[in-house]
């Protein structure tokens, strides 16, 4: 029951999601607190919302890695264990995302062949046939992780973007094989020798040209790019608005046009709104929501988790890895 506005907004978001039907929700956290908040919603009485008690939690400033050992009954651990036992199909967290990730690794486990979870996002508007991995789950990466990101991205492109044979590219500082840092150079070698459709390196100015369906990078670079990309629309609007001050009537028109156009520049993961994404590679569905999520974002995150469960993303990833390990194209 984490998040900047928890438990109020988180409980409200769960109630919103439950009103859509077709979902049973367990709120994991302090039972007393949750019962009090849930009691505020008359509609919750008829909805499928239950409480799973967990009296411990991982604070924002606490090391999630250390907490694995010392707080096995904290809320994210309890939620992860519910997924592992089959009591729940997915867990959603707006709390410390590293804690959710670490709990997922420890208590649910990773799909065989995947080292750590990653976050995938489709670029949408400017490059509708391109997705990027990793968008922030792994700040420091080992070379083999880039290969895993490529496989995860391939599954995403096939499953959610309808691309039968995704082309993979590695984000680097130059097109040549020897460009990039040590991990990227080694990753190039692994991708080149894989059975994936590897298009080589691409540079930042080629991200949006549609040359690649899956762009692979570490989570540090991916997260910086994600935030830059999401901010482009707003900055373009401000800049244009300043320029158009000389022409007030045209300015209003341009503002309306830009508002319409640039809403679409947000990177989206599945039906995602409000930040976060599915943690790909975990042997179960885990959906991270932005820490600052309000109720509608929480409801969207629950919807996104439902979509991932319905789309059988974990099974698809396992099948693609199996195919890849046998020498086929992932």
């Amino acid at each position: 029951m984490g998040g900047d506005y928890a438990p109020e907004e988180t409980v409200k978001g769960a109630v919103l999601a439950a009103q859509q039907g077709d979902v049973e929700i367990f709120l994991v956290g302090s039972a007393n607190i949750l019962e009090n908040h849930l009691a505020k919603y008359a509609t919750a009485r008829n909805a499928s919302i239950h409480i799973a008690s967990a009296n411990d939690f991982i604070a924002e400033n606490e090391s999630p890695v250390a907490a694995i050992r010392h707080k096995p009954d904290c809320s994210v651990a309890v939620a992860a264990k519910m997924v592992k036992s089959g009591e729940a199909d997915a867990f959603v967290s707006a709390g410390n995302s590293a804690a959710a990730s670490v709990s997922a690794i420890q208590y649910i486990g990773m799909v065989d062949g995947i080292y750590r979870p990653s976050i995938v996002g489709a670029l949408g508007s400017f490059a509708p046939n391109t997705a990027m991995v990793d968008l922030g789950a792994n700040v420091d990466c080992k070379p083999h992780q880039y290969l895993e990101f490529a496989i995860v991205g391939s599954v995403y492109a096939k499953k959610f973007m309808g691309i039968a044979e995704p082309r993979i590219a590695l984000l680097s500082t130059g097109a040549e094989e020897g460009k990039g840092n040590e991990a990227v150079r080694e990753a190039y070698r692994l991708l080149k020798n894989s059975s994936l459709d590897f298009a080589g390196n691409i540079e930042g100015n080629q991200i949006l040209n549609g040359r690649a369906n899956v762009i692979v990078c570490d989570g540090f670079v991916g997260n910086v790019l994600l935030k830059l990309y999401e901010s482009i629309g707003g900055h373009a609007l401000d800049w244009t608005h300043q320029k158009m001050k000389r022409y007030p009537f045209a300015g209003i028109f341009v503002k309306l046009l830009f508002n319409k156009l640039f809403q679409a520049t947000k990177i989206s993961t599945e039906t995602e709104q409000g930040g976060g994404g599915i943690l790909w590679g975990v042997d179960g569905v885990v959906r991270i929501a932005h820490g600052a999520s309000r109720a509608p974002h929480i409801a969207n995150a629950i919807e996104s988790a439902k979509n991932a469960v319905r789309a059988k993303t974990t099974d698809s990833l396992k099948a693609e890895l199996e195919k890849y390990n046998q020498g086929g194209k992932a």
């Binding site: 090391s63 890695v65 250390a66 694995i68 050992r69 670490v102 690794i105 420890q106 080292y115 420091d140 080992k142 083999h144």
Partner: protein
């Protein structure tokens, strides 16, 4: 399988390295293990040998050999009891 071999297998599986490169002198840094790898290895070893490794002891491990020696001593003590 000896205690050392079992621990080497756990560490290699978690860090995704070839077990043969892990020697008693190898540090976690040598095998590019991060803090999550280390904790996962500790948890896995604790579960396998049914022991608890206090943080203050774990922090003293300078290399793989220290880790193995500590677990060996705990396992042999448990066997004597």
């Amino acid at each position: 399988m000896t205690v050392e071999e079992q621990i080497r297998e756990i560490v290699a599986r978690i860090t995704r390295v070839d077990p043969s490169i892990i020697t008693r002198e190898s540090t976690f840094k040598d095998i590019k293990a991060d803090s999550l790898d280390v904790v996962q290895a500790l948890v896995a070893v604790e579960e396998l040998f049914e022991i608890e490794i206090p943080d203050e002891e774990a922090q003293k491990f300078q290399n793989f050999g220290n880790f193995v020696s500590y677990v060996e001593s705990r396992v042999s003590k448990a066997e004597k009891v």
